[in-house]
């Protein structure tokens, strides 16, 4: 048993962190978000540095998908609040490249949703920027996947306050290539995994921001982090983040098996609400202002909570995976 990252994994993490220092971070996220803009530069930088295709590239050498390595990259980008459809780009698109569909990489940004969310369109993460839309059946019992190339005007931008540029389908008659149940269930699992991982990176950053704050914020002549009322609750948050991280990494390490991903997502999504509440509470009034960066991560947690049927959807998937 060894939870340590190996040298290659460590190197990947360091390299992506270096790239993110230049191309991401809360200040940039705030700037882009103010204009509901997508970070094409970050996407390009990740593509050029080879991170986008890490799942498949490493598979070529080792004969199996590099789920953990891909997860490390997604986690890091979420921690740095990258405004880029990183989950779908790194975890979903490569699954389809070179398969039944095309030998070209899918054109990103890639947005993803359930069939019913096309019939009655809802706001989608990166929807207004997406070039490709993946549509999954609502339930995995009749799974299928449609890959739709989006044209100008198919989507419209939707204003939201939850940290990601959002868009809604306006052309509900769009259609594309249908793929079978086999690839659909894979995409579903990797989507769930990427949600879990993005949630981990995002809530870790929110928690870190809060922990730093309670160390330096002084009231009653002492750091507020020295009060047990604060310490105990932040400890519980840290445990939740840690549990979420390792469940998600384990699911990634085993390349997105049904039960593991459903459980990782259910666990992380539940933790996200807890971390949101506590990090805002401990930050006091300053955490309610846009001056303090906490909102960059904390608000995103609620968008992540809504996808793939949300907490209820993930929990149903856990039960279905274990007991049918």
């Amino acid at each position: 048993m060894d939870f340590e990252l190996n040298e290659d994994q460590q190197a990947i993490l360091e390299a992506v962190d270096r790239l993110l220092e230049q191309h991401a971070g809360p200040t940039r996220a705030i700037e882009l978000f103010a204009n509901n803009t997508y970070d094409s530069e970050l996407q390009q930088a990740l593509e050029e540095s080879g991170f986008s295709n890490i799942l498949n590239d490493m598979a070529m050498e080792e004969g199996k998908l590099a789920g953990l390595e891909a997860a490390l990259v997604v986690e890091a980008v979420a921690r740095a609040a990258g405004v880029c459809a990183i989950g779908s780009q790194i975890m979903l698109a490569p699954l389809l490249t070179g398969k039944e569909l095309t030998d070209q990489a899918l054109e990103g940004p890639v947005a993803i949703c359930l069939r019913s969310q096309i019939e009655k369109p809802v706001p989608l993460r990166y929807g207004a920027n997406a070039k490709t839309l993946l549509v999954l059946a609502d339930s995995n019992s009749d799974d299928d996947l449609e890959v739709i190339t989006l044209g100008d005007g198919d989507m419209e931008s939707v204003k939201s306050n939850f940290g990601y540029p959002m868009g809604r389908l306006v052309n509900t008659s769009v259609s594309g290539t249908k793929l079978g149940a086999d690839v659909a269930s894979k995409v579903r699992n990797w989507w769930r995994l990427s949600l879990a991982i993005e949630t981990v990176g995002t809530m870790e950053a929110a928690l870190n921001h809060t922990v730093e704050y309670v160390k330096q914020r002084r009231q009653f002549g002492r750091a507020i982090g020295s009060f047990q009322a604060i310490q105990h609750r932040l400890s519980l948050c840290a445990i939740q983040v840690e549990g979420s991280r390792w469940l998600a990494r384990e699911a990634a390490y085993h390349n997105a098996q049904d039960e593991a991903v459903a459980n990782a997502a259910a666990f992380a999504i539940a933790a996200a609400d807890k971390v949101f509440g506590e990090s805002h509470q401990m930050s006091g009034a300053v955490g309610f202002t846009r001056e303090f960066d906490l909102h960059v991560w904390s608000m995103r947690l609620h968008t992540l909570r809504q996808e793939l049927g949300g907490l209820g959807g993930h929990r149903k998937a856990v039960v279905a995976a274990r007991w049918g």
């Binding site: 306050n161 002549g221 604060i230 309610f288 202002t289 846009r290 809504q306 949300g310 907490l311 209820g312």
Partner: protein, 373 residues
């Protein structure tokens, strides 16, 4: 025991509801800044009925009624989403009546009663939130003994951008005197040396920072004795406990969340219905604890613990109600301006402003349970 309002009180409630029919669309409770002119007009209309002075003694032009009338008024106004109770007719006016000079009474009480002037509360500072007694804004008496000169910074002032006067807590004694070294001042916001600058908040509204740069405030604008502010602000807080967290707000929140879920076709889901039932209990808990506070005040009993319990329950309920929608509503719940997401973002502050939940819990544990430390 009699957990009912009297006939007269119920008649007043009906009158308030009728009055509010003209103001049901203002929507100034959750976010006052954008609709301040309308809220101000409503306060003036209330002033015409003398409702801003319901509990004031008749000698100050008030109606001399019991606390229940204020409770009913502001509870209905909260339910109608029209506005929050103004500081001027509560904290400010009641402190002036108790501690103010005759001149202050003559200058301010008539204008407050008619809704002509409004105040912003300048207590908190960057370094003094929960620990208010640590505040540093200095008020130094000049050599001639005619003016105090204020220097320092306040922050997180609600609505300061729109108010006419500031109600300022400042240090006249030594820093180590903490609460015993503070005095209260009234200051026109237009006075030279005052700068108000916005702090945008995550609910798309704003708080403010207020800077004092050698601001000259005549001695006559100090309220109460020098270094005597701590008791005044404590009593002022106590005066307002029954109207600070009106349960009409959470009752309305729940109704709106359920309407939203029904409109999305989610209202029949048994899991969601169970959550609705839980929230009905929470709202009723907030209502009954709110009435406990009212009863304590009517009987002249110390309501500190009741109010702390009520604040904790009420404000957590403010957050639990929209949480139901964020748990079950799907991505549609995220669209800007929909009630659920608006209330979700706004309610973050409820457990912080007006004394945090942690401070309230300490009040309960110390004063109700006798746990020291």
């Amino acid at each position: 025991m009699n957990i009912n309002f009297s006939k007269q009180e119920l008649a007043f409630q009906t009158e308030v509801r009728e009055f509010l029919q003209d103001y049901n669309d203002i929507d100034g409770f959750l976010s006052q800044g954008p609709v301040w002119p309308q809220v101000r007009a409503m306060f003036s209309a209330m002033g015409e009925r003398n409702w801003l002075a319901l509990t004031w003694p008749e000698e100050y032009g008030g109606m001399g009624k019991g606390h229940s009338y204020e409770y009913i008024l502001w509870n209905e106004v909260a339910y109608a989403r029209a506005a929050r109770n103004p500081l001027s007719s509560g904290v400010v006016a009641k402190s002036i009546m108790r501690y103010g000079s005759d001149e202050q009474k003559q200058t301010f009480l008539p204008k407050i009663r008619t809704g002509e002037v409004h105040f912003s509360l300048c207590y908190s500072e960057p370094e003094a939130g929960s620990d208010l007694a640590g505040l540093r804004t200095k008020a130094q008496l000049n050599d001639a003994g005619t003016h105090y000169v204020l220097n320092g910074q306040k922050c997180w002032q609600s609505y300061a951008q729109d108010m006419d006067f500031l109600w300022i807590l400042a240090r006249t004694g030594k820093q180590e005197d903490r609460g015993r070294g503070l005095s209260l001042f009234i200051c026109d916001k237009q006075t030279a040396g005052i700068t108000v600058s916005p702090l945008p908040t995550v609910d798309d509204d704003q708080l403010n920072e207020v800077f004092f740069d050698n601001v000259e405030v005549p001695v006559a604008q100090r309220v109460g004795p020098e270094n005597g502010a701590w008791a005044i602000i404590g009593e002022a807080l106590a005066d307002e406990r029954h109207i600070q967290f009106p349960p009409g707000r959470v009752r309305r929140d729940l109704e709106e969340m359920v309407d939203w879920l029904n409109a999305q076709g989610l209202g029949d889901d048994p899991v969601i219905r169970e959550r609705m039932a839980h929230l009905v209990s929470k709202v009723m808990e907030a209502e009954i604890l709110g009435l406990r506070v009212l009863e304590a005040m009517e009987k002249g009993r110390n309501a500190t613990v009741d109010a702390a319990m009520n604040k904790i329950v009420h404000t957590l309920t403010c957050q639990d109600i929209p949480r139901m929608v964020l748990d079950y509503g799907g991505p549609e719940a995220l669209v800007n301006g929909y009630r659920p997401e608006q209330i979700w973002r706004q309610s973050i502050m409820e457990t912080i402003g007006g004394g945090t939940s942690e401070i309230m819990r300490s009040v309960v544990s110390r004063q109700a349970l006798g746990l020291k430390g």
